[in-house]
């Protein structure tokens, strides 16, 4: 599934009313940063889809910051968005490192103690793999779990099917990987 374009990405962003300069400069900043954001996500996490979640947070922080001050030039907005994106990417990378110390089941050699506590391990695993997904995606996954179709999920969340599916992609990929590991006794 292709990543959305910068204009698709702005679909869910709430721009403050009466501040057209913010919307204009943020859209320009997004255009300028989007390719690099995908490369960063691929380099840090091996998954460019994560750029989507990280960029949405960075966009919101940028808009909040701009809304509090006087109008600034486009170049400054490009830098600001880039900084917020890098900040969030680093935060996630560091959080992943901490979680790696805990280690998913797949990395721990099997032993009798592990099998006795398999249900505890499973709890840790699902919590680990879903710990950082945004609330809207959590709700979307829960709705799909109760067999609401993606089209209905999108309608309920007030977005498009492709948007919510792309945003759920990372979590689905992690679940798919976890289920695959479990099925084959890894």
């Amino acid at each position: 599934m292709p990543l959305p374009s910068p204009s698709d990405l702005c679909w869910n962003v709430q721009f403050p009313p009466g501040q057209e300069w913010i919307e204009r400069t943020v859209r320009e900043a997004l255009e300028a940063n989007w390719q690099r954001a995908q490369s960063t996500a691929r380099a840090y996490f091996g998954d460019e889809f994560l750029a989507l979640e990280i960029m949405q947070l960075a966009l919101q922080k940028t808009i909040d910051r701009l809304n509090k001050g006087a109008p600034v030039e486009s170049n400054e907005v490009i830098l600001l968005l880039s900084r917020f994106y890098a900040q969030e990417a680093r935060r996630r990378r560091d959080a992943n490192r901490e979680l790696a110390l805990l280690g998913p089941n797949a990395e721990v050699p099997s032993n009798p103690a592990q099998s006795q506590s398999s249900s505890v391990d499973s709890t840790i695993d699902l919590e680990v793999i879903l710990h950082d997904i945004p609330p809207e995606v959590r709700l979307a996954l829960l709705m799909r779990y109760s067999r609401t179709r993606w089209t209905e999920v999108a309608a309920i969340l007030g977005t498009t099917e492709s948007s919510i599916r792309v945003r759920s992609q990372q979590a689905l990929k992690r679940i798919r990987q976890r289920l695959g590991d479990n099925e084959h006794g890894k």
Binding site: L142, T148, L179
Partner: protein, 99 residues
Amino acid sequence: MIVYTVDPIRKDDVAEHQPLLNDDQNDTLLFEKLEEYILAHYPNPERVGCPSLEVLKRFSDAPREVNLSDLKNLHIFKCAECTRALIELRRQWEQPKLL
């Protein structure tokens, strides 16, 4: 002469993930497997931390009316009892259509 070889490990990897790769547009197979996984690994007979059955019923009938905090966040993903309740509610919901 060119000799083509097949790496056995890579071939196995593809075979292992083949069923989920064949999933439909709604990722139905993935969610069915997740359901099986939760039923097998997350027993909660005392229903500790569960949302009420009324909330689960509302979530099943009209998901629009339920929010994350009503559902106790991702609790359902670590609860076999809530999963069973959702399956039963779905079965009840689908039954009239079969008659």
